[in-house]
Symmetry: C2
Subunit: 356 residues, 2 copies
C-alpha cells in the first residue's frame, strides 16, 4: 500500500529525460491557447516554437503574447513556412480540418499529435493513418485519459484481477455546451465540421476510449438511441445519446452522453469480485474509488487538472518521438473509436444492432 | 433547508394511525422470516397472525418460533383455513406461484400485498390484476423504493425542477447470487419459476421501477443485450444484461444488472440543470447525492436498512387498506414493469428495439 501510494503519480511510461520536441500548434482556440501552451511550457520535453492560425496577423499576435518565435497562417504552414523551427505538430482545429494539417505534416516529415476524435469520418481518419504510415511519421491521438495516473492505476488493478472478471462498464459524459459556448452556429453543431454528430464524437468518445484502454479489448456490437430537442441541435442527431456496447469478452458496456445537460463525467467497471469507479472521470482531477469484498477505498489527488493532464500527453508523445518508441494511442487505435462512433450513429439511425 | 432536513424521514403518505391489518404471510423463505416478520412486528399498523408454508408442520414450527397464532399449509390456505384470522396476505413465494395465492386471497376477500416481480409472465400478472379487480380487493406490489425516504425526496426534487428537464437515467443493480445462495438449482435460475430470466426480473426491475417512479413516466421503447456464462445460468438468458430505455419525454435510460457480479446498486438522474444520485440505491441505507450548479450535497441517513424499508411498505399498505385509500404501486402499475421486462427479453432475443 505504501508503494502504491508513493508511486501513484509516477510516470511509469517515461523512458527518457533528455531532449526537446519543438511544436507547431495548429488551430488557436481557447483549448490550445489557454491549456496547451501553458501545459507545454510546464513540460520537460517540449517547447512551442510555431503557432498556426487563419491569418498571419492573428498567429503573430498570439505568438507575441505567448513568447513564441513564429506565427504563421494555415496557407504558409501548407507551403512549409518555418518548417525548420518545429519537429512535430499538434492539431487542435475542429474535427473536419485535422486531415489536411496531418497530411502536410507527414509530407514535411513531422510527427503528428492529433486531437480526438481523429477526424469527421472514418474514411478521413483512415486516410490520415495511411498518409502517416506512408511517410513514416509518428501519429498519436491525444487521449489524455491514457496518461492520467488514476486511469493508469485503474488499468493495472483490472489487469491484476482486482475486480475479478469484468462484467459491465458504465460511462457517462455530459456538459451544458450552450452555457459554455452560447453560439448556436458553433462548429460542434455543424455536421460538415463535427462529423457524425456531437455528443458521441465529443463526449461519448471519452467513455468508449477509456473503457477500451482499461479492458484492453474492443467493442464487437453496438446498439444505440439518439435524440435532439433544442433548436441549436437541429442539424445533429445526438443532443442526447445512449448506447450498449458488447466487448470481445462479453463485457457489457452502457454509455450515455449529452451536450445539453449538467456536467457529469463518470466511469465504472464492475467485475465478479469488485468495482473500480472514476467519479469525476474525464474533466480533470479524476478520482478513483475501489471496492472489493466489503471494503471501499477512495483515492483522491488534486494535482491533475486539465492542464497537467495535457502536459502528460505532450511529454508522453515527446518521449516516444525522441526515442522512436512505440506510441500506444496511435492512429490505428484512434481509428477504432471512429469506427465505433460511426457504428453507434448507424445503429441509432437504422434502429438495429451494428457489428464491428 | 431546516425544514427539509427535519422532515426528511417523515411519512408524507400516512393518513391514519388507527387500526391493525392482520397478515397471512405466504412463502417462508429467509426474506419473509428474517426481514418481513420483524418488520411487521415493529410496524404501527400491522401484525402477523398466520404463516403459510409447504407443510402444516413447517408452518406451525415457524409460527411457534415467532409467536404467531396460526401455521397452515398451502393446501389448507386454499381451503380457507384460518381465514377469519387475517385481513390481508403477503405473497413472498417464488415468482410463478404468486398468482394462485392471490386468486385464493381475492376469492376470500382479502387484500393482497405481492412481492415484485408480480409473476413469471405478463399474462399471469394480468390475470392477477383482473381477478383482484373482479373481486374488488386491494392489490399492491411491494416496491419498497417507493416508500424509501431518500427516493421520495428525490422525486419531490425532480418534480420541483431541481435537475431541470430530466435528460438521462442510469440504473445499476448487481449481486453475487451464487455466493449468497450457492445452490445451482435455486428457483431464480429456473425459467419455469422465475419467468423470463433472472437479472432483469430480480434486479433490473429496481432500476426500471424506481426510474418510472422518479420521472412519473414510462418507457416507450427498449433495446437490450444479454448473456450467460457460468454453468449455473445455462437455463436463463441473462446472467448479465444491459438495456437502453426511451421514456415518454425522450428521457434516455441506460440500465445494467447482473446476478454474478460484485454488489453494486446505483441510480442517477441527470437533467439540464443538475443530477440526483442514489448510491447505494436499492439494498438498504439508500443515500442521496445532489448536484446543481457547482454545488454538491451528500445526504446520509443510516436508519433505513432493509427491515425498516419493509416496515414502511407494510405500513403504507395497511394505511391504504384501513382507509380504503388509493394504492400507488398497484397491480396496473406493477403490470407495466412486467411488460417492460418482457420487452427487454424480446429485444435481446430478436436483436432489435421493441416498442411498448
Amino acid at each position: 500500500m505504501h508503494d502504491w501510494i508513493d508511486s501513484y503519480e509516477e510516470r511509469d511510461w517515461q523512458t527518457t529525460e533528455d531532449g526537446t520536441v519543438r511544436y507547431a500548434l495548429i488551430g488557436l482556440g481557447w483549448w490550445t491557447v489557454d491549456v496547451a501552451i501553458p501545459a507545454i511550457e510546464s513540460s520537460d520535453l517540449g517547447e512551442v516554437s510555431v503557432l498556426v492560425s487563419s491569418s498571419t496577423e492573428k498567429a503573430a499576435e498570439i505568438a507575441e503574447d505567448n513568447d513564441v518565435e513564429h506565427g504563421i497562417s494555415y496557407d504558409e504552414y501548407h507551403d512549409g513556412a518555418a518548417s525548420d523551427a518545429y519537429d512535430a505538430v499538434y492539431i487542435g482545429t475542429p474535427n473536419a480540418f485535422h486531415l489536411e494539417y496531418a497530411e502536410t505534416a507527414a509530407e514535411l516529415g513531422k510527427a503528428v499529435l492529433c486531437e480526438k476524435p481523429m477526424e469527421a469520418t472514418v474514411e478521413r481518419a483512415e486516410q490520415m493513418v495511411e498518409t502517416c504510415e506512408e511517410e513514416d511519421v509518428p501519429l498519436m491521438v491525444a487521449y489524455r485519459m491514457q496518461t492520467e495516473p488514476a486511469v493508469r492505476r485503474a488499468r493495472e488493478l483490472i489487469e491484476s484481477g482486482f475486480v475479478g472478471d469484468p462484467v459491465s462498464v458504465y460511462g457517462a459524459n455530459s456538459q451544458p455546451l450552450l452555457e459554455m459556448i452560447p453560439d448556436h452556429d458553433q462548429w460542434r453543431l455543424d455536421p460538415d465540421i463535427t462529423g457524425y454528430g456531437t455528443s458521441v464524437m465529443d463526449l461519448g468518445i471519452y467513455s468508449i476510449n477509456t473503457a477500451r484502454y482499461l479492458l484492453q479489448q474492443d467493442p464487437v456490437t453496438v446498439q444505440s438511441q439518439m435524440s435532439s430537442h433544442h433548436e441549436a441541435f437541429d442539424d445533429v442527431p445526438d443532443e442526447r445519446s445512449s448506447s450498449t456496447l458488447l466487448f470481445e469478452d462479453d463485457v457489457h458496456m452502457i454509455s450515455t452522453s449529452s451536450q445539453r445537460a449538467h456536467e457529469d463525467t463518470h466511469l465504472k467497471v464492475t467485475g465478479t469480485e469488485g468495482t473500480i469507479e472514476l467519479d469525476p472521470a474525464f474533466h480533470g482531477e479524476a478520482s478513483l474509488r475501489l471496492s472489493r469484498g466489503d471494503l471501499t477505498v477512495e483515492v483522491e489527488h488534486g494535482t491533475f487538472d486539465a492542464e497537467r493532464e495535457v502536459q502528460e500527453v505532450f511529454d508522453y508523445f515527446a518521449d516516444r518521438v525522441l526515442t522512436d518508441g512505440e506510441i500506444h494511442p496511435d492512429g490505428r487505435h484512434g481509428l477504432v473509436d471512429m469506427q465505433v462512433i460511426e457504428a453507434i450513429h448507424r445503429a441509432a439511425d437504422e434502429g438495429e444492432p451494428v457489428d464491428l
